[in-house]
Symmetry: C2
């Protein structure tokens, strides 16, 4: 798969030490020469390590003295606490709040901290255009014909090959393509759930999932979720007899950005398999890791075919293409039938184009760049939040994905903040969107997928000032 450069590997290790507080603000870093010895690398590699850390604003060069951990690191905002939803299944309609927030999609006059997709300026637009052109030429009848029911073979093959990167071992025949990620989740829930069934999810949770579950006549059970390690397994164990389906975003979920450790993933998969409760795993952010290592998926611990692994290119390449897929394990026949009956086929041209983009390695090169940009953005966002947001602000420290989750003091009302911010042309996602219960009133989600700029920094300052006034 993708080549990981040695300098990048070393830089990530040092960055982790800085973030974890092992190296502290003002600490001197080893010299270039010492680095060469310590890691057995050449001068050029060692120099690139420092350039990389500098680009991430983690270190600063001082003339004649070498590199030091940046001063700005001195403040380190605390993490939000583990969420504590009540363990009761809800089936009432989600508030209209998220519909209001999402209606801002495409509004060029707003700064859209609310929309969880990478900005177009971070995407390989020219290459994608060419890929579409090639696809119209390569496909029989220019792509006007129906695809095979399971979906574009090239795309499925490449998704299968890439599964090795997260500990999976998929075959193209294990996969079914869908019209984007939401469509994959929709088919999974339709295949597995019957009205009145209960679906366990993370809390806070992506509003689209809340709406989807409720729309199908299913109930939502929100699980306590740790901002770093994901759902609390003890809580899941307690409710396992009351639930019918579990739907998680184990890797860099939105809004928390938590990533379940491998041991947790394994335990959850085994726990659910023992009760024959299917796990729908939404891995749509899995490729957006900031470190050097792609996190594993729950699917990689699945020996029973009980995990339905879903993903898409909507968060990494092209939201508007509607290209997603699912590896539905033992539920494959059910999913295939649903696709036949409710969709018939995917859009041949676009799925071929994405399949080819993956095949030629362009996707990996793009992801490499996108991950770096998002990691830098993340650092800038955290710096701005640290500098401008009111005392008592807590924030998540995701190691990947597109979002950070801010918890203000209890005085800050996120919905009011949303309304005040909209008057200043700033759109944020207020906490109550992410739950069916009365919670997260003082929380917001910020999307880090916008290209960093002084204007963005200024907007975050404005947002911080609004929060301070509350």
């Amino acid at each position: 798969m993708e080549k990981v450069y040695r300098y990048n590997e070393i830089a990530s290790g040092i960055a982790a030490q800085i973030r974890d507080g092992i190296l502290r603000s003002g600490d001197k870093l080893p010299s270039v020469r010492m680095l060469c010895k310590e890691y057995a690398v050449g001068m050029n590699t060692a120099k690139r390590v420092f350039l990389e850390l500098e680009a991430q604003s983690l270190v600063e060069a001082k003339p004649q003295s070498g590199f030091f951990v940046s001063n700005r690191r001195v403040e380190r905002l605390p993490l939000p606490a583990v969420s504590k939803p009540s363990l009761i299944a809800n089936h009432h309609e989600p508030s209209e709040l998220s519909t209001r927030v999402y209606s801002s999609i495409g509004r060029g006059d707003l700064t859209l901290f609310s929309i969880g997709v990478p900005s177009g300026s971070l995407l390989p637009l020219a290459k994608l255009k060419k890929e579409i052109l090639y696809a119209t030429r390569a496909l029989k009848e220019g792509g006007t014909e129906y695809e095979p029911l399971q979906g574009n073979v090239k795309l499925r093959r490449m998704v299968a090959v890439r599964s090795l990167g997260w500990g999976g071992n998929l075959h193209e025949d294990d996969l079914i393509t869908t019209a984007g990620g939401v469509n994959a989740l929709s088919f999974c829930l339709m295949a597995l759930g019957k009205p009145g069934d209960t679906v366990a999810i993370e809390s806070p949770c992506y509003p689209g999932i809340l709406q989807l579950v409720i729309s199908l006549g299913l109930k939502v059970l929100e699980l306590p979720t740790h901002p770093v390690t994901g759902i609390e397994i003890d809580a899941l164990r307690k409710v396992v007899s009351k639930i019918d389906i579990c739907l998680l975003i184990p890797n860099f979920n939105t809004p928390l950005g938590s990533c379940m450790p491998d041991a947790h993933k394994k335990e959850v998969v085994q726990l659910l398999a023992a009760s024959n409760i299917p796990l729908i795993e939404d891995d749509i952010y899995g490729d957006l890791y900031f470190g050097t290592q792609r996190p594993r998926c729950c699917k990689s611990f699945d020996t029973e075919g009980n995990v339905l692994w879903c993903s898409a290119v909507s968060k990494t390449l092209a939201p508007g293409y509607r290209v997603g897929w699912v590896a539905p394990g033992k539920y494959k026949e059910k999913l295939l039938k649903l696709k036949l009956v409710h969709a018939l086929a995917s859009t041949s041209v676009i799925h071929e184009a994405v399949g080819n983009f993956l095949k030629t390695g362009r996707y990996d090169r793009h992801l490499h760049q996108l991950r770096r940009t998002l990691q830098h953005n993340y650092q800038h966002f955290i710096d701005a939040v640290t500098e401008y947001f009111p005392e008592g602000t807590k924030t998540t420290r995701p190691q990947g994905g597109l979002a950070i989750w801010i918890e203000f003091n209890k005085e800050v009302d996120a919905v009011k903040l949303y309304e005040l911010a909209m008057k200043q042309k700033i759109s944020i996602a207020p906490g109550p969107m992410f739950t069916l219960q009365d919670q997260y009133q003082n929380c917001i989600r910020l999307c880090i997928g916008l290209p960093w700029s002084d204007e963005l920094k200024f907007k975050l300052k404005q947002l911080g000032n609004l929060a301070k006034m509350m």
Copy 2:
């Protein structure tokens, strides 16, 4: 909209007289000179009338004598009788037969009389490729961004403009785009039905609709249907208190090809509105009329917003593009919400390309050509069926669409015929696919969307011989 040439209008009138038996085999037609006088047209127009009728194999020129109605017209197969399903709601799974038949999609080694789409060779492939290229250039961020929730504005505007052609008066804001026609029907049924509800449909009925209704936990009530005029309104009146939704393909439905007269449409719309039963109108074949006049839609008689009018380009332009739409009347908010929750958006690039193809008039020019081709194909198919199929064969006489429905003598078992034909690389759609009841065992559907050729004729001869042997 589209220009209808005078010669074409006159030819259609004469063709109708031939088909209706007013002009009979061997009858002499008026001379070119007489035609000029009668219709007040020039010589060139009159000559083109005869060329057109000749192209349709309806008339033959005899040297020095003029034009005569073709001899082959002498035999005229009778129509199948009105269908007589029992008026009981069914909710069992459709047979696996249609899954088997549809699994042949894309198999180049078969003659696919079974698949109801126009062959790629009848589609404007080069122009469509260009249109896609333009779309990637015209759209912001190359179409990687999400569309507005309701769908591509250009496409909705053009579908609205074209609604004038069928007596409608839609505005772009009345329309929501979908990923193809099936997706539109799926959203409508999801929005309107709850498990256990009963949906009245035509019988025989498109298998995809049977599967869709059953898949959502709804029941199917099959209505007696006339091969020319569609559902029997008296039957609908009898069951109206037992049904919750009505789903019809009033224009050139598959497999019968029936087209409800305007008066019937109006009556059905009023009958259903009086009982507050929504009508889902699938108009996917409406543009494929053989005559000069596009048939009206039920939606054009809808004063209450009770008709959900659905269509797509899957039967006319590009099955693999997945471009459809719905005008859901008073159910618009429900439909919009379903689209948000289950699909989020359509594929921006392809929907823009189709929108533009409609806008530039290319779609109308293509349809004009496609209709002529299908009309000629229809004539060839009927001729071959008349010539090669066993005594006692009955056939529909659709005035548009993509299918003819054949009723054999009771001795012919359509499923066995399907299996025998497959051994000779011929795929047909056997009657039992089109119902949940025990009927149509001696019926098949033939799709006329393949380009006519001697080979096709030979395949129909083979098929006829197989049926004769039974």
